[in-house]
C-alpha cells in the first residue's frame, strides 16, 4: 500500500505542465489526489512521472461570464460548496456538491480531477452534462473545447488525449427562477452513489415546461441525458400524473451491472429518483407549483 517509484514534477505554468505531458509517455497529472493517490497506493497505476499541478497559479478561479460560470480546472470542490456565485446562479451544482465525498476530500478534490476521473456516478460530471458544459483542454501548441455530450467516451474514459489537460469548464446557466433538483441514492452519505438524477426545468407562466434537462448517473458507463423524458415534458403542463408517468421511461435505459447493484435495480432507482427530482424541481421553479412525489 505505498506508491510505486516515480519522478515527481511540480510545474508552475500550464505551458510547462503540458510540455511535460508531451515529453513523458507514461505520466499522470496529480490534481486533488483523491482518486489518483488511492490508485497509486494500491498500485493500480504505475506512472514513470507524476506531474503535480497544484502549484500552477490562476487555475482555480470561478468566473462570472454573464450567461455562464467558468471554473478553472483546479477549482476545489470545497470552493464550489462555499461559492455564493454557484449557490445563486447554479443551484443544481450546489445541491450536488454536498454529496461529493466528505469535507476532508472536498478540501482537496478538484472539478477538473473529477471530470477526468469520470466515475459513472460522480456528481460533477452529471451536473456538467445536465447544464451542457463545455470542457477546455490544452496540449503543447493547442487548445480546444469539448462539448459535454462528446466528453465521455466510455466507462471512466474522457475523450481528451493523454497529452492534454483540462484547464477550465464552462457551465452555461439557466434563466433565473428555473427549477432544479439533484437527488441520489448511496449506501452511506459521502459514498459514490449507486444512481443519481439531476433535473433542470424552465417553467413558463401557467406551469408549462419550456425546456427540460434530465441526467441520470450511475446507470450507464457515464452520465446519460434521458432525451425520451426531456421530449415528453417539453410543452406540457407539469403535474404529478405527468411526472409519475414520464419517469417510468428511465426503466428503458440500458443499465450496467456490478457487485453493488443489478441492472434492473439501477433502472428502478433511475425512475424513482427522476420522479422525485421532477417534483422537487417543479416545486422550486418560480412558475411551478408545490408538489411532493415519493
Amino acid at each position: 500500500m505505498k506508491p510505486p517509484p516515480f519522478t515527481y514534477h511540480d510545474p508552475r505554468s500550464v505551458e510547462d505542465a503540458v510540455a511535460l505531458l508531451a515529453e513523458k509517455d507514461n505520466a499522470k497529472l496529480l490534481a486533488g489526489g483523491q482518486s489518483l493517490m488511492p490508485m497509486l497506493n494500491m498500485r493500480f497505476v504505475l506512472p514513470d512521472d507524476v506531474i503535480d499541478i497544484n502549484l500552477i497559479d490562476g487555475l482555480a478561479d470561478i468566473r462570472d461570464d454573464g450567461d455562464a460560470l467558468v471554473f478553472g480546472g483546479m477549482t476545489r470542490q470545497r470552493d464550489i460548496e462555499y461559492s455564493d456565485l454557484v449557490a445563486q446562479r447554479c443551484p443544481l451544482m450546489k445541491e450536488a456538491i454536498l454529496n461529493v465525498g466528505h469535507r476532508q476530500t472536498r478540501n482537496r478534490g478538484t472539478y477538473g480531477g473529477s471530470m477526468s476521473h469520470l466515475d459513472p456516478s460522480a456528481e460533477l460530471p452529471s451536473v456538467s452534462m445536465a447544464q451542457d458544459a463545455v470542457v477546455t483542454v490544452q496540449k503543447k501548441g493547442g487548445i480546444r473545447d469539448i462539448a459535454m455530450a462528446d466528453f465521455p467516451m466510455g466507462y471512466m474514459m474522457p475523450s481528451f488525449e493523454l497529452d492534454e489537460m483540462v484547464t477550465s469548464i464552462r457551465v452555461p446557466l439557466w434563466p433565473e427562477g428555473h427549477g432544479y433538483s439533484f437527488v441520489e441514492f448511496a449506501r452511506r452519505h459521502g459514498d459514490f452513489a449507486i444512481t443519481s438524477s439531476a433535473v433542470l426545468l424552465d417553467v413558463e407562466a401557467g406551469g408549462r415546461i419550456k425546456r427540460a434537462s434530465i441526467t441520470v448517473g450511475g446507470v450507464g458507463p457515464s452520465p446519460l441525458r434521458v432525451t425520451a423524458v426531456e421530449e415528453g415534458l417539453t410543452g406540457e403542463i407539469g403535474s404529478v400524473e405527468l411526472f409519475t408517468e414520464i419517469a417510468e421511461k428511465c426503466r428503458e435505459i440500458d443499465a450496467m451491472e456490478d457487485v453493488y447493484a443489478p441492472a434492473w435495480y439501477r433502472q428502478h432507482l433511475a425512475s424513482v429518483l427522476t420522479r422525485r427530482a421532477l417534483g422537487k424541481a417543479f416545486s422550486r421553479a418560480a412558475n411551478g407549483t408545490e408538489m411532493t412525489l415519493r
Binding site: 515527481y8 483523491q34 493517490m37
Partner: protein, 165 residues
C-alpha cells in the same frame, strides 16, 4: 534510483527539514520521519479518515498527499490540539467525558475533522455532526459517544467564546 527532494514543513508550530523520497506519503512522513505517531494509518486509500490532519487549517487525508506537497505548508496533527502538556482542548475533554473513544484508533482523525467542522459550523445539529464524521470510521464506539462529544464540545466552545468576550 530514487527521486528525492529536501522539504521543510511546519508541524504543530515546529519546523522540520528532511530529505525524502518524492513518493513518500504525508502520513508516512509524519509518522516515520518526524516520529509523530498520533496520526494513524488505517486504510491508505482515503476511506477510513484515521490519517486526517489539518493542512493550513483545512482537513486533508494525509495518506492521499505526498510529503513533498506539504513543502512550505503548516500542518497540525492530533499532538498539536491540546494547549499544553497538562490541559486538554475542550473537544478532547468532551470526548473523555462522553465516552467518545474506546481503543482510540479513529480518535486523531475524529478530533482533527471536528476541529475544522466546529469552526465552519459552531452550532451544529446532530444530523450535521453525523454527516461531518461520515468520512471517519470507528469500529468501537457505535458513534453515539462521538456524536454526543461533538455536540457537547460545540456548547463548551461557545461558552468559552462568550466568557472571553
Amino acid at each position: 534510483m530514487s527521486d528525492r527532494r529536501t522539504i521543510s514543513v511546519t508541524i504543530n508550530g515546529e519546523a522540520y527539514e528532511r530529505e525524502v523520497e518524492t513518493r513518500l506519503t504525508l502520513a508516512d512522513f509524519i509518522r516515520h520521519e518526524v516520529l509523530l505517531t498520533g496520526t494513524h494509518v488505517g486504510c491508505e486509500h482515503g476511506v477510513c479518515g484515521a490519517c486526517t490532519i489539518l493542512l493550513n487549517g483545512r482537513t486533508a487525508r494525509s495518506c492521499l498527499m505526498l510529503a513533498v506537497q506539504a513543502n512550505g505548508q503548516e500542518i497540525m496533527t492530533v499532538e498539536g490540539i491540546a494547549p499544553n502538556d497538562t490541559e486538554l482542548h475542550p473537544l478532547q475533554q468532551a470526548f473523555q467525558d462522553n465516552h467518545g473513544l474506546q481503543c482510540g484508533f479513529c480518535t486523531p482523525g475524529m478530533l482533527t475533522t471536528l476541529i475544522e467542522f466546529l469552526g465552519d459550523n459552531p452550532d451544529p445539529t446532530e444530523r450535521e455532526v453525523r454527516e461531518a464524521i461520515s468520512g471517519n470510521l470507528c469500529r468501537c464506539t457505535g458513534y453515539q459517544g462521538i456524536v454526543a462529544a461533538a455536540l457537547d464540545a460545540a456548547k463548551r466552545l461557545k461558552g468559552k467564546e462568550t466568557a472571553g468576550a
